[in-house]
């Protein structure tokens, strides 16, 4: 589903964000990218959804070479990926329903599809009944659920999560992880960048560890260390 071949990414001329990274993630996998801040986790995610272009090497997603893809095809690539962030990136002037609906609206989905799919996904993330709230009226955990609902409403093949539990207390974080696991069980490939030990150790999933841009460990059913 996702394959990196000797990918190097530099910011400016000095800082190497990722050096010679290679891995292969199969469909339906759940993978943690771990390592301290600045070790290149976020950059890897940004390479996969083509917010960044590598300096060397190739990124393949769902059989397509992401780097050689025409600019005009990139939106269609991204429709296969859901993105979840530490800071949620919700739109404050839209309700829960509108935030999720927005993701379908801007890719041109007709109203009747939106009205059918949004309640289903809100039910799935446990926010049924809170459709008309605004983000500021929700707790952090609830806001993250809205953001997951938005990422998942189009049923993407891949879910990219960048520190989704970073702003949440442990108990709330567990709830989010349970949700991501549930989404993973529907066949969606999940790649999650984190430096949260407890989460990684509790889940026992594949772990790819980075240190200053270099992959130092790639282990099935790993722990954080």
């Amino acid at each position: 589903m996702i394959r990196l071949e000797s990918v190097t990414k530099r910011y400016g001329t000095e800082t190497v964000a990722v050096r010679d990274a290679s891995f292969d993630i199969a469909k339906g996998d759940f993978v943690f990218l771990v390592g301290p801040s600045g070790s290149g986790k976020s950059t890897l995610l940004r390479l996969i959804n083509r917010q960044e272009q590598p300096e060397r090497g190739e990124v393949w997603v769902a059989g397509q070479n992401v780097n050689e893809m025409a600019e005009s095809r990139v939106p269609y690539l991204r429709r296969n990926m859901g993105n979840v962030f530490q800071d949620y990136k919700l739109l404050p002037n839209k309700t829960v329903f509108e935030n999720v609906a927005f993701a379908l609206e801007v890719i041109g989905k007709p109203r009747h599809v939106i009205n059918r799919q949004v309640p289903v996904v809100l039910e799935l993330v446990g926010l049924a009944g809170k459709e008309d709230r605004f983000p500021e009226q929700l707790s952090g955990g609830e806001q993250q659920r809205v953001s997951i609902a938005r990422a998942f409403v189009n049923r993407p093949l891949i879910m990219l999560a960048d520190e989704p539990t970073g702003n949440l207390d442990p108990a709330t974080g567990e709830g989010i992880m349970a949700l991501l696991e549930e989404i993973n069980r529907t066949g969606t490939t999940v790649v999650m960048a984190t430096h949260d030990h407890r989460v990684v150790n509790a889940m026992r999933k594949r772990v790819i560890q980075l240190d200053r841009g270099v992959i130092v460990r790639d282990q099935e059913r790993g722990v954080y260390e």
């Binding site: 917010q51 007709p110 109203r111």
Partner: protein, 301 residues
Amino acid sequence: MIARIAYAFREMWASFRRNLTLTVAAILTSAIALLLVGTTFLIQRAFDNLLVQWRGDVEMIVFVRSDATPEQISLIDQTIKAAPTIIDAEKLQYLDKTQSYEEAKRIFVGDPVTLSLLTPDNIPSQFKVVPITQDPELVRSLSEQYRSLPGVQDVALAEDEFQVISTLSRFVRTVTLVMSLVLLVVAVGLIWNTIRTAMFARRREIEVMKLVGATNWFIRVPFMLEGLLHGLLGGIASCGGLWVLNSAWTNGVAGFKPGTGISSLVVPSSYLTGVMLMILAIGALVGAIGSAIAASRFLDV
């Protein structure tokens, strides 16, 4: 498809209202710029009216009395052609009464009083003379000779009228053209800035849109429509201004005595309509260019 078009217009309108101060500034600037462009065209046309009888290097016109006999006309024709070293006999043009009347209708469009005094019967016919020589004195002395021929009503020399008018016309055209070009650039810049501000205000939304896979065109179109609307509204305002200006001018000119020549500075209303349509088109174009630059720059993430 309909959902997308509705979305684009809804977003355009929302953004249009949000930034009222900048929006008004952008519209006013483009209105003034376009007004100047329109004025340039009208002035140009007015001067062209004055010069219409001097087209094609014609530098001397021999007016023939309307009651001249064919023999007299033929004598004038021969006299003019008798100086082939000074006069270009090839380009010598004779407008009979009907043709002269057609031309008069254009020249006196703003002077119906004079025009109503002319009929295809009483209008003087005319020889339009193109000289070969560069020496104005030679042409002048020739004109004196023609004036004494039987049947000749008058001889007009281009030098006398042409020089002043064409110099003035060229000067006014250059000044207004440069000013309107500068203002058009300013208008593009202001529209660009307005759209950029609008996009910056909505950068979070744009970021989310890009991440969930909205195409660049989908993101861009509402903003481009907004810029287009700025230009178009500016165009409409300047059309109103142009109409007022032209009406005031036409009324003012009507106060002059008939036949003073000022009246030929009036522009026919069909031409005014043409200029207005063109101004609307330029306005829309200016808006589209300004917003397109802003939209494509800002979307490079």
